[in-house]
């Protein structure tokens, strides 16, 4: 799908966003009040853009120039509101069937049962929304949206109220569903961990503008780098594979994609062989000009300094160690270590400076 919209919300705030989203999770990340929900509302037709064009494949939903503005009810979208908006007077079954009333009874029954099963809520079919738990309500709301076979799914911070394990189970079921259906999922969140863990693509928004978009790694390396790091909370993110669990130590080893080095990181419930993403703050990485010894830190890498650049009172160093690390230093440290591009250095990372971004 392709989206290009402009909408003036108030004299102080306007939205101006342009992006493409393919099948799979596209995460829209940014601070609250950054225009994320307005953007989803424009796509859904609940807010009318002042200009722009929105299309899913060759189906045009909105085109200011051509005078097209498809009514909300014919856009064929799924939209999960923050408050879910389940119909309180209808049962789970009636809620899920609400969007497919036009189908004949056997087909309706078949579709509903398949969705209730996919989201493990068959046993709740006779209950009202007030009689089920928060996680179950999320599942019902997802089933209600997906049963209509939408062309795009819009999620507005859908899982913020849930604990991590409930959340990841629901996301697993959603991923499972989408593996078969392959529709674009626009997922709005203000939690960077969520964005970087789930997203095949990340769009960072600030003050109504898209300031970066692309693969998670590309986003961190984008021109608006400093702002993005501030929003996101880390400068480095690496793809890795879990190679060994060390339960007794409370850690596990992960092999970074690209440099074949093992990083010792805090233990999670990830299984060996599974894919993880590791985030590290540039200020949490130590640099040494000689191979360090006698350290408590578990991770030491050799690398080559490729770039050194001053940004305010910090010095930003880029170190190539098969993958590129960004490291922040003080000008004093740079002088003392006699750092210059091309110099061989060692990087030191504490296990607990490495956070696994996961949903």
């Amino acid at each position: 799908m392709s989206v290009a919209v402009a909408r003036r919300v108030s004299s102080a705030f306007s939205l101006q966003a342009e992006f493409e989203a393919g099948p799979g999770f596209t995460m829209i990340l940014g601070p609250s009040g950054g225009g994320k929900t307005t953007l989803l509302n424009c796509v859904a037709g609940l807010a009318r853009p002042d200009a722009g064009r929105i299309a899913i494949g060759d189906r045009v939903l909105f085109d200011k120039g051509a005078g097209i503005d498809a009514p909300v009810s014919s856009r064929r979208l799924g939209y999960l509101f923050q408050n879910l908006a389940l119909f309180p007077h209808l049962t789970v079954e009636q809620n899920v069937q609400y969007g497919i009333a036009r189908l004949d009874a056997p087909e309706r029954e078949r579709r509903m049962n398949s969705l209730l099963e996919s989201f493990r809520i068959t046993h709740l079919r006779g209950r009202k929304p007030a009689e089920i738990s928060g996680g179950e309500r999320q599942r019902v709301a997802l089933a209600r949206s997906l049963v209509t076979d939408p062309a795009v799914l819009l999620l507005d911070e859908p899982l913020t109220a849930l604990d991590t394990s409930t959340k990841s189970k629901i996301l697993d079921d959603l991923r499972q569903w989408n593996a078969e259906h392959r529709i674009p999922i626009l997922y709005v969140t203000h939690a960077p961990e969520e964005a970087f863990a789930l997203g095949e693509r990340v769009i960072v928004m600030e003050a109504g503008r898209v300031i970066a978009q692309g693969m998670p790694q590309q986003v961190l390396k984008s021109p608006r780098h400093e702002t993005i790091a501030q929003i996101v909370g880390f400068e480095n993110v690496f793809d890795a594979t879990v190679t060994a669990l060390m339960e007794a130590q409370g850690t596990m080893l992960c092999r970074l994609r690209g440099n074949h080095l093992d990083l010792e990181v805090p233990l999670t419930d990830a299984a060996p062989g599974s894919f993880v993403r590791i985030a590290v703050r540039a200020g949490d990485i130590m640099m040494a000009s000689e191979r360090p010894r006698g350290l408590s830190a578990r991770n030491t890498f050799e690398g080559r300094l490729v770039e050194l650049r001053r940004a305010g009172v910090t010095v930003v160093a880029m170190v190539d160690s098969g993958v590129t690390f960004e490291v922040h230093l003080t000008p004093g440290a740079v002088e003392e270590l006699k750092l210059a591009p091309g110099k061989k250095v060692w990087l030191v990372l504490k296990t607990y400076s490495c956070s696994l971004v996961e949903a």
Binding site: V72, Y79, A85, F87, G99, R144
Partner: protein, 226 residues
């Protein structure tokens, strides 16, 4: 001995007015709750006018509007062969206008309390406005709708000034309970007036109690209910 003529006439009037008001009031109330039109406060004021105007003022204007000099009056005379004032139809029209706020205001309040996301969710799921109204808005604001129906019904039962202005006092056509009570008092027939007044009081009290009880779910804490 109770005079049944005015009672039946009053009930028939209240019933007709109520049905007409549901048909007019519901779309009007939902429009008022959901529109973003900047001048809607003007319509709101017009709807609320009967609450503050003396019934005689309202009755006077309705009389003029329905009279043989007005376009409506002439049009009606052309169709039916007689005028609107001092007929049951004229009385019904006047009562509809007079009771309009009692139907529209509780409904508007009830519609306004519905979470907008529910309405948006319904459209996103492909439902038309009409389906959204009947499947989501109406069931969730039933208590407000019932309150509107009961209030406008009870209000029509008891109106006096407008009836006197527009309907006059024609037995079988426009003589309602309140007019009959007034007549009896004028004729110093206190016993007959009392019987009718008591009936109206009892009826009004019972309908209002039932409505409030249902709205507050008083039955949940009813001592005999267990």
């Amino acid at each position: 001995m109770l005079a049944w003529g005015p009672i039946f006439l009053t009930l028939r009037l209240a019933l007709v007015v109520c049905c007409v008001l549901i048909l007019i009031g519901m779309p009007l109330a939902s429009w008022l709750s959901f529109t973003t039109w900047r001048w809607k406060f003007l319509i709101e004021s017009v709807v609320a006018l009967p609450l503050v105007l003396p019934p005689t003022v309202l009755g006077f204007y309705i009389l003029v509007a329905l009279g043989s000099q007005s376009p409506i009056g002439r049009w009606y005379r052309m169709l039916s062969g007689h005028g609107l004032p001092f007929t049951f139809a004229g009385l019904a029209i006047a009562s509809v206008i007079y009771s309009l706020p009692f139907m529209v205001q509780p409904m508007t309040a009830a519609f306004g309390q519905i979470d907008r996301n529910l309405i948006d969710a319904s459209s996103i799921l492909g439902a038309s406005r009409l389906r959204t109204f009947f499947r989501i808005v109406l069931p969730l604001s039933l208590s407000g709708v019932v309150t509107g129906i009961v209030l406008s019904f009870a209000h029509t039962l008891g109106e006096f000034g407008v009836v006197l202005m527009v309907g006059g006092n024609i037995p079988g056509a426009t003589e309602t309970i309140s007019i009959a009570i007034y007549d009896n008092v004028q004729a110093l027939n206190y016993a007959a007036a009392n019987r009718m007044a008591l009936l109206l009081l009892a009826f009004s009290f019972i309908t209002l109690s039932l409505t409030y009880a249902l709205n507050r779910r008083v039955w949940d804490v009813w001592p005999l209910h267990r």
